[in-house]
């Protein structure tokens, strides 16, 4: 590919579209379209449908039950899924842990954990950040001390997404205080039901519960749950960060949201005319649309590079910065388009049978969506950190 897809890739796109049309429940995509978050049951439902088709672990090698897709196919799948307002594949088990296990895990670990990710037996969460170790992840303090055939883990993890649903957590823990900070970190798999683990919800500004604090007090972890070698965890974590981040800009989600925004702004009237015809508003929409069109091409360039065997390095930082800024502007415009109709606060709006709304459907989650997505420029390495990476890696500054 250069900046367009091959005939074979286009055919694959058709296949994905047909699958989405057939399998994605209209009620679920309608809910997602209005900015609603899928429930655990809905995520499980979607995972099961994908797994049935063999598309859940689409980027895993075939020998482990994956589809062995190329980065281009994976990108097409994600793009089309976002355009159709399908739930995203929950990344923790399938996309974050599995590649590490496949590359660095023991045979026994692969044999035990990979099938359980596929069939949904285990829901995973990620234990990386800590209160004092956010952007500066290597300063993490949660400790694991070897005692016989166990590690004893003590400490605290922060911003643990979906910990409230998880059966397992993969954690970065400190096993040594000697030498460089990065060289004393290990990668441990911990059962969330172990005694001494305490999960506390963290409510975010829009009122939602996505993230948690996870406390560890003398938690016993069998040594066979160590991945790879002791004190090499940083290498494994870094491998994850360079692994397949070609869709980090979330182009599909932005294209879909832009379409939704324009539709809503056409319906909304200002002085008797569609809001979208109002120059002040239209100019902002046009600006973000240009940025998005532009982003599509940049994304394809990065993808073409990867398809030709390159590894996305600091380019994924570029994709993340630009992509999140675009998405945040779209949520901001959606909220603007709804005006005061976006101001009502309905935490119960996600519940079924809710009919207390004032104003159009699009207004229901407009504010919640805007506030919630302030996180995009913070998590997964804040945009400030991404700019540091660009300065260092691309510019040599």
């Amino acid at each position: 590919m250069d900046l367009s897809f091959s005939a074979e890739e286009e055919a694959f796109r058709g296949e994905v579209q047909a699958f989405l049309k057939e399998k994605l429940r209209p009620e679920l995509s309608a809910k997602m379209k209005l900015g609603g978050a899928p429930s655990k049951a809905e995520m499980e439902e979607w995972h099961a449908l994908l797994n049935e088709r063999g598309w859940l672990a689409n980027h895993w090698p075939k020998e482990y039950g994956g589809a062995g897709w190329t980065p281009v196919k994976k990108f097409i799948f994600e793009l089309e899924s976002e355009l159709a307002f399908a739930p995203r594949i929950v990344p923790f088990g399938v996309s974050m842990l599995a590649p590490v296990l496949i590359k660095y895990g023991s045979d026994a670990q692969k044999k035990h954990w990979l099938p359980r990710i596929l069939d949904g037996s285990d829901w995973w969460c990620q234990g990386y950040s800590e209160p004092g170790a956010g952007s500066d992840l290597a300063s993490l303090k949660t400790s694991a001390v070897r005692e016989g055939d166990h590690y004893i883990v003590n400490g605290q993890k922060a911003w643990t997404t979906m910990a409230q649903h998880a059966d397992m957590i993969f954690c970065l823990v400190r096993t040594s205080k000697e030498g460089k900070r990065q060289e004393g970190i290990s990668f441990l798999l911990i059962d969330m039901k172990t005694a001494g683990i305490d999960v506390k919800p963290v409510i975010t500004i829009e009122g939602g519960h996505e993230v948690n604090e996870v406390f560890f007090t003398d938690v016993k972890v069998p040594i066979e749950n160590l991945v790879g070698e002791e004190n090499k965890g940083w290498t494994y974590a870094k491998y994850l960060l360079t692994y397949e981040r070609t869709n980090i800009a979330g182009i599909g989600g932005s294209i879909a949201l832009l379409g939704h925004l324009k539709q809503a702004a056409r319906k909304r009237k200002k002085h008797g005319k569609p809001l979208l015809d109002e120059p002040y508003f239209a100019a902002r929409v046009a600006r973000v649309e240009i940025a998005l069109e532009n982003m599509k091409t940049t994304n394809l360039r990065v993808l073409a590079d990867v398809a030709a065997g390159g590894a996305p390095g600091a380019e994924s930082s570029l994709l993340k910065i630009k992509g999140t800024v675009i998405y945040q502007e779209l949520t901001s415009l959606m909220r603007r388009a709804m005006g005061a109709y976006a101001a009502p606060y309905f935490p119960e709006a996600a519940d079924e049978g809710f009919n207390g709304q004032v104003g159009p459907d699009e207004a229901l989650h407009a504010a919640e969506d805007y506030f919630n997505h302030r996180k995009l420029s913070i998590f997964g390495g804040s945009n400030e950190i991404q700019r540091n990476i660009v300065s260092k890696m691309m510019l040599g500054l």
Binding site: T204, M338, R374, I378
Partner: protein, 376 residues
């Protein structure tokens, strides 16, 4: 960089002291979590009146202090910094200004009550998602010696439990203001009702619909030019004072962020040493100072009854909408994950800011007016 006249400085000192002690963000949080239906603390409301804040824009002979709008803006700014929830803008600014403009018996009776903190009077003008006080559908028709009122009103600040509602309606093709006693209106019947509106900022808002509700003759308090003039003045005042409140919120977010940059360590250093963050805070500082000037200018123009007060109050409201967005978004971003939590106060500022941006018209609404009316 503020130099205030002595009276204003004293007022400001008493406001910072009282609000920090009694009406801080913690007090607002307690109201929110306690689901207080009024959205404010009635005892504190009386205390605020005792401090003279409810009568700032009312003449002395009606129980006020006539300190003026600039003074009211100073108070509102401090309320913004503390997220104080009080029927201040609704009653002491919007309604008091209308009464002051109308004068007569209404001002004699109700001016005093407002100044004493004995009543809440809410202004019911908005009818939909956007603030369009000049394009209303609520209609009144004459019915013997009274009127029949029909229409929908929404986003009425402090409307639930208010002692009186000032309702805008069209009567014989003219803008008219009615003085509605909620207890005498037919609320709660099948054709008329009032209900709370729960907005992001967890304050007291109401919406009502009314159909052929019979009003007495004396409920009409202004019609035609008098009503237009009184409402225009009240809206000027409301915009400028709300802008002051939002300005206070932006200042508070900036101050808290500077403090965080000076305490949070990553990579072994305070994050405040990073130049990229320093420059962004410097930019925010400049924007805050520019906005402070515009807000002060608008408030002074209202006090001086200057012709530019409409233009300036709209410009200030539009400018502060941009500032509020910048300040709250930067505060959350620079605090990182912790800034996203409900436990930290920044989200409360962000949500209140967005509601105030809509209240009395957003930036687009005012910029459009400036373009049209000023022939820019």
């Amino acid at each position: 960089m503020e130099i205030l006249i002595e009276d204003h400085q004293m007022l400001l000192n008493s406001a910072t002291g009282y609000l920090a002690k009694k009406q801080s963000v913690a007090a607002f949080r307690a109201l929110r979590d306690g689901d207080e239906p009024l959205g404010y603390d009635a005892t504190a409301y009386r205390q605020m009146a005792d401090l003279g804040w409810m009568g700032l824009v009312l003449p002395e002979e009606y129980g006020g202090s006539d300190f003026g709008y600039r003074a009211a803006g100073l108070i509102a700014e401090q309320m913004g910094r503390n997220l104080t929830a009080m029927p201040f803008v609704s009653t002491a600014i919007l309604s008091a200004t209308i009464l002051r403009e109308i004068g007569g018996d209404m001002l004699t009776e109700w001016g005093m009550k407002i100044a004493m903190g004995e009543c809440v009077v809410a202004l019911a003008i908005d009818e939909g998602a956007k603030h369009r006080p000049g394009q209303i559908k609520t209609q009144a028709v004459r019915d013997g010696d009274g009127y029949l009122l029909s229409g929908d009103k929404s986003f009425i600040a402090d409307g639930m439990g208010a002692d009186r509602l000032i309702v805008s309606a069209m009567l014989e093709g003219e803008l008219t203001l009615f003085w509605l006693d909620p207890l005498e209106a037919c609320f709660g019947t099948s054709c008329c009702d009032i209900a709370p509106q729960k907005l992001l900022d967890h304050r007291n808002y109401a919406s009502f619909y009314i159909k052929n509700c019979r009003l007495n003759e004396n409920t009409l308090i202004a019609k035609g030019e008098v009503a237009e003039k009184a409402l225009a003045k009240a809206l000027c005042a409301g915009r400028a004072v709300v802008a002051a409140e939002q300005l206070g919120m932006a200042k508070e977010c900036a101050a808290r962020t500077v403090e965080y940059l000076n305490t949070r360590k990553q990579f072994g250093v305070l994050i405040g040493v990073f130049q990229t963050l320093q420059h962004r805070m410097a930019h925010l500082y400049c924007e805050i100072e520019q906005t402070s000037s515009l807000v002060a200018q608008a408030l002074n123009a209202i006090d001086e009854n200057a012709e530019e007060c409409e233009k300036l109050s709209r410009a200030a409201k539009a400018k502060v909408a941009k500032l509020g967005k910048l300040a709250t978004e930067e505060a959350v971003q620079m605090h990182g994950g912790i800034g996203m939590t409900d436990e930290l106060d920044l989200g409360l500022f962000m949500k209140r800011d967005r509601v105030l941006t809509e209240f009395l018209g957003d930036a687009a609404c005012h910029i459009e007016w400036l373009l049209r009316e000023q022939k820019i």
